[in-house]
């Protein structure tokens, strides 16, 4: 496979095969503001990681580094054994393994729901149109809105749009899904329909990294919680560790504020 050829011997040292994402000591600066400070994290295949932290703590910056919507300044990132660097082939290989769902949905408003979903498979995976459309219908059923295929994004409710966005990401058949506050822009009554889809996805064995403030979801679905503050990982552990027995002062303070 092409992906293995691009990995140098040094890369193999990074983590065991089931470590699908390995982040080693990354820093990220915006001008003279340090948004990420020596962050290291290893994520196993099929793991559900929920990232928590106060506003401005670098959660978005961190998960955007994982598909290079932001470039890290130092340290190394491996996804599926491939190093994230200036090599465009590596980047394309990595991006085709990672799907992303944004807070603001970011659907393509000039395309129908169907075309939003089939665009990636057709243009990147070179899938035939019929095949891509069949896949899209299957995914729309999975997120519960098959009847909306011919509508445009502006004609859908927020929750429906976010479910289309999830279907669009899944259409690339990624191994990993990144969610950056997927329910924060939604009205309360629509949050549940999106979380239900994510819960189902988690049960299906997808590797997921989720930034969210939905503590119920985190407690129920996460294998591991990671708490960020001021650009660094302050504490991590299982939900029970986190909610019943947090160690760090900053974690306790944060949890006391949001629970």
């Amino acid at each position: 496979m092409a992906t293995e050829q691009t990995a140098s011997p040094a890369d193999q040292a990074a983590g065991t095969p089931e470590d699908i994402i390995v982040v080693e000591n990354i820093d990220k600066w915006f001008g003279d503001f340090q948004a990420l400070d020596d962050v290291s994290l290893t994520i196993k295949e099929h793991e559900i990681v929920v990232v928590l932290g106060p506003s401005g703590s670098g959660k978005s910056t961190f998960i955007r580094c994982l598909n290079r919507l932001e470039e890290h300044d130092s340290g190394r990132i491996f996804v599926n054994g491939i190093e994230m660097n200036d090599d465009v082939r590596n980047l394309n290989a990595i991006r085709s393994e990672i799907g992303m769902v944004f807070q603001q949905f970011n659907l393509f408003p000039h395309l129908s729901v169907m075309s939003n979903i089939t665009l990636g498979p057709q243009k990147v995976r070179r899938m035939a149109r019929q095949e891509a459309e069949a896949l899209a219908m299957q995914l729309l059923e999975r997120v519960g809105i098959p009847e909306q295929a011919e509508k445009y994004p502006a004609q859908l409710s927020g929750g429906q749009q976010q479910r289309v966005a999830i279907a669009r990401a899944l259409a690339m058949q990624p191994k990993i899904m990144l969610f950056d506050e997927p329910t924060s822009a939604l009205d309360p009554e629509m949050i549940k329909e999106v979380l239900d889809v994510m819960r189902e996805l988690a049960q299906s064995g997808m590797t997921m990294i989720v930034v969210t403030h939905e503590m119920g979801f985190a407690r129920e679905v996460a294998d591991r919680l990671v708490f960020f503050d001021e650009g660094a990982v302050v504490e991590q552990g299982t939900p029970s560790h986190f909610f019943e027995n947090p160690q760090e002062e900053r974690t306790k303070l944060f949890l006391s504020q949001i629970l």
């Binding site: 598909n67 919507l69 465009v88 394309n92 991006r95 085709s96 990672i98 799907g99 992303m100 944004f102 603001q104 970011n106 659907l107 393509f108 408003p109 000039h110 395309l111 129908s112 169907m114 075309s115 665009l119 990636g120 243009k123 990147v124 995976r125 149109r129 519960g144 809105i145 009847e147 909306q148 011919e150 509508k151 445009y152 994004p153 502006a154 004609q155 859908l156 409710s157 927020g158 929750g159 429906q160 479910r163 669009r168 990401a169 259409a171 690339m172 009554e189 629509m190 329909e193």
Partner: protein, 422 residues
């Protein structure tokens, strides 16, 4: 245009809104149904005689309008000697076009009419207003074009072009309106022909023993130069707009330099460049050089309008493109540009209209005789020396017709693009 945001859908997973407290109003028409005379009186009262001052204003306005209309009617029907136009129709429309190649003009006209019909059929439909415009316009066209002994033939040719328009219209009406493979294919084919239409018309007019380039003049020349400048300008403008937004300084600075330089001098100056400097450097046909200059000039303006569209798009659109695995150029092509171009349609059409009228400048400094140049030739014949006003009024109307059509088409496009916009 925004569509109503949350569309509660009873069938799907959408959460059904509580429906109990919906107030049911009688249908709008039922409430509006008052006797016609009452409604007319009401309208009069509200719009024309609302108050003493308002009534006075209405009266004054009508008086001024009537005076103007009277003068215009007097000019058209009594004062003016339209023979300067009717006797010179060939000169004004086709200038030096060889008479024995007349069929090429008609074939060109038929092609353009077919494209108009096809575009209408594909993206719009004829309404009553279109017909109201087209019938007098066609009558005027026949009257102007049917000249001398060949009047019958000209009328037949013109009728043929109208038939082509209708056939193309009804053929394209049969293409399904919804998105689908059939429609995509038809739209692509039509777009390709539209994009190539300027060179195709040139081929029809010139290839294989047709007109020489120095025989292209009159209104025909305006009709050839302006589309070349507009289409060329869009093709120049897109890469400039993208380049100006580039992260690579060398590229963005070069594009900025180009845009600011071109916009810094008036069109007349650039036409001089076409005549002298370009003539010395690349030589070639003056018409081609003029087209290049028009495209280069318009491109700088188009670039700025398109850049406005690019900037109006949120960064999330690029990010979503990358996140589904599209590389930068594909994201640009499939996601960013289609949206940016839609946003910039109104200013782009404005620029197109402006360029259309600017083609009147060409014969002021270039030895090309477009409509204004032909008008001067018409006057210069001793017989019509006192009829300059008539010729220029005619020329103005001819410019107005196309400008009017372009602005209507732009409104149409804007309205029909309402679907699916944020």
């Amino acid at each position: 245009m925004t569509n109503e945001m949350p569309v509660p859908d009873p069938a799907g997973g959408g959460i059904a809104p509580p429906r109990a407290r919906r107030v049911v109003l009688p249908p709008y028409r039922q409430r509006a149904a008052r006797p016609r005379s009452v409604r007319a009186r009401e309208w009069l009262r509200q719009n024309l005689v609302p108050s003493p001052t308002g009534t006075l204003l209405t009266v004054v306005t009508f008086a001024v309008l009537a005076a103007i209309l009277g003068i215009v009617a007097w000019f058209i029907f009594s004062y003016a000697n339209w023979r300067v136009v009717t006797d010179n129709r060939w000169l004004l429309f086709a200038g030096g076009f060889p008479h024995d190649q007349e069929w090429r003009l008609w074939v060109g006209l038929g092609f353009v009419f077919a494209l108009v019909g096809a575009s209408y059929g594909m993206w719009s439909s004829f309404g009553r207003r279109d017909i109201l415009f087209m019938v007098p316009a066609s009558a005027f066209g026949v009257f102007m074009l049917a000249h001398g002994g060949a009047a019958l033939w000209s009328t037949l040719w013109f009728a043929g072009a109208v038939v082509l328009l209708a056939v193309a219209y009804f053929a394209c009406r049969r293409v399904p309106r919804e998105h689908g493979p059939g429609r995509t294919l038809a739209v692509r084919a039509l777009s390709a022909v539209l994009m190539l239409s300027v060179p195709i018309v040139f081929m029809v007019l010139m290839a294989g023993g047709g007109a020489d380039s120095d025989e292209l003049s009159g209104y025909l020349l305006n009709l050839l130069l302006a589309p070349a400048g507009i289409v060329g300008g869009i093709f120049v403008g897109i890469p400039l707009a993208v380049g100006r937004a580039s992260k690579l300084r060398a590229i963005s600075w070069s594009c900025t330099f180009y845009i600011e330089t071109v916009r810094g001098a008036p069109l007349i100056g650039w036409l001089f460049v076409a005549l002298f400097i370009l003539g010395d450097i690349i030589g070639g046909d003056l018409i081609v050089r003029t087209m290049i200059v028009l495209a280069v000039f318009t491109g700088a303006y188009m670039a700025e309008y398109i850049r406005g569209g690019l900037q109006a798009l949120p960064r999330g659109q690029y990010e979503a493109g990358h996140a589904v695995g599209l590389p930068y150029w594909r994201t640009l092509q499939l996601i960013i540009l289609p949206q940016a171009l839609r946003i910039s349609i109104p200013p782009i059409v404005g620029q197109a209209i402006s360029l259309w009228k600017d083609t009147a400048l060409i014969s002021i400094i270039l030895p090309l005789r477009e409509l204004i140049g032909s008008s001067r030739s018409a006057i210069a014949q001793g017989e019509f020396i006192t009829n300059r006003i008539e010729v220029y009024v005619f020329a103005a109307v001819m410019f107005w017709i196309i400008s009017f059509i372009m602005s209507r088409v732009s409104q149409r496009i804007e309205r029909s693009l309402g679907v699916g916009e944020r």
